[in-house]
């Protein structure tokens, strides 16, 4: 058994990493919960957002955290347009078509990025990237603490929008009862696009939180989305609270299994846990019965 001196920092760091996982999963679960499709373009869109954050810094000199203010609305509009004018018309109202269209989009976006920027891995250097906060028993990296705080704020805003605004209520109504929503005067095509936009906006924020300490190449987003899929299943498909708690939980699992099994095997723990969840609680830890 390891001493608390090693264990506590590992758990705290796990929570901090888990917050960004949770944000990526939040976008995925939101889209799944309302449109009832798995968005296969999620990883590619995250990669695109990371490139955007990278170049906004490189070309405009904008700090990634400030870039989030610019990129979040931009990606919301991009996601809205993608669903409304490309995915929905191409899918002809068939769910399985939407699945294939998002898969096709992923291929186009990834290869577009590869064509434009090559397979090179890029990083940006920021003076605060390696700064730490000393809590006495543990050092926490500043970018991770910032990321954690931002994710909590985003989750609170999202909660407020979903429970207190008419658009949020309309999203929840469409998620559970599409025909009833249509007959209440809710424009379902619009709500689908808003939801897709929100999911994409989550990715823009996640990208801006990742870029100070992470690299970007045309495949960079996929690693996060694989974990996000695990989180979405773990938390219960379509459950927003589940995605948040699941994300934090997965971060801790990864951190602890890295500690016990060695850093490079940290993700092993995630997938062992994933298999256990599928075996014993296939609806997820917080999900409703399917």
């Amino acid at each position: 058994m390891l001493s608390p001196v090693i264990l506590i920092p590992a758990v705290l760091n796990g929570l901090l990493i888990g917050a960004v996982y949770a944000l990526v999963a939040l976008g995925l679960t939101l889209i799944y919960g309302v449109l009832h499709i798995i968005n296969f373009a999620h990883g590619a869109l995250l990669t695109a957002a990371m490139f955007a954050a990278f170049f906004v810094h490189r070309l405009l000199g904008l700090d990634p955290y400030l870039a989030a203010v610019l990129l979040t609305p931009l990606f919301f509009v991009f996601g809205y347009g993608l669903q409304r004018f490309i995915i929905a018309p191409a899918a002809h109202g068939e769910d399985r078509n939407i699945l294939l269209v998002t898969l096709g989009l992923a291929v186009i976006i990834e290869n577009g990025l590869l064509y434009a920027f090559r397979a090179d891995t890029r990083t940006i250097n920021l003076d605060y990237a390696f700064r730490v906060i000393d809590l006495g028993i543990v050092f926490l990296a500043v970018p991770r603490v910032v990321a954690f705080g931002v994710v909590i704020v985003v989750a609170l805003i999202l909660w407020f929008v979903m429970s207190r605004t008419d658009t949020g209520r309309a999203i929840r109504a469409v998620a559970k009862e599409k025909l009833g929503a249509e007959l209440s005067g809710i424009d379902v095509a619009h709500i689908y696009a808003v939801t897709f936009g929100l999911g994409t906006a989550c990715l823009a924020i996640a990208a801006c939180l990742l870029i100070p300490t992470y690299y970007v190449n045309p495949q960079a987003g996929n690693a996060f989305v694989l974990i996000a899929f695990t989180i979405v299943v773990l938390g219960g498909m379509g459950s927003v609270a589940g995605a948040l708690l699941g994300g934090l939980f997965v971060g801790v699992v990864e951190s602890l299994s890295g500690l016990y099994l060695g850093e490079s095997l940290g993700q092993l723990g995630i997938f062992v846990m994933f298999i256990l969840v599928l075996l014993f609680r296939p609806n997820g830890l917080f999900g409703e019965r399917i």
């Binding site: 008419d166 209520r169 309309a170 929840r172 109504a173 998620a175 559970k176 009862e177 025909l179 009833g180 929503a181 249509e182 007959l183 209440s184 005067g185 809710i186 424009d187 379902v188």
Partner: protein, 237 residues
Amino acid sequence: MAEPVLAVSGLRTGYGATEILRGVDLAVNAGEIVAVLGSNGAGKSTLNRAISGVLRPWSGAIRFCDIDIGREKPATIVGRGLIQVPEGRRIFPNMTVRENLDLGAYRRARPRREDNRGRVFAIFPRLAERQSQRAGTLSGGEQQMLAIGRGLMAEPILLILDEPSLGLSPLLVEELFALIKRINAEGITLLLVEQNVAQSLEVAHRAYILENGAIVLQGNPTDIGNDPNLKRAYLGL
């Protein structure tokens, strides 16, 4: 004579290649309760889906307040004041009673939401008691009240009730039909689509009988109630 609130003429539609409605004509005048009666599979639900814009007409016209709504989206049609309370209630089970009602005023009458909610609670005191409860936990009768209440929140010009008595106990059915009269007395025009022939004919001003996708009989309730064919087909007399 004044233009009818709803005028359906020569309506044909269906699913895929299967034609369900084969030229339906009907009209609803302001202030009326009109009943459309028919057995399972007669095309009642298809008619409702077409009027509310969920299903596109193949041909024919649907006019509401003298506007052609045949090609409009459901949300636009709701905005015009044609509100449908769907079969099977279709309430939002994951949301509270109050949130369900508030969404009724999503497209229409939003500034008067508070007032209208008060009016709905006056009609359905049970909903007022349960306003913070999740709608999915309500009984069948309460869910039907909620669905009607949600419809009323939009200040309908024409309210379509699709099989409202389905699955309700006889006592609740009595209550429901009394309520239909009360809503009508407040100035709302009603189209009642029902299988419950006897009670529908009691409240309706006029009625249509739909069979195999076409109107086979229409007129005032007394004549229809005494029609020998109808008696044999629906009333089992």
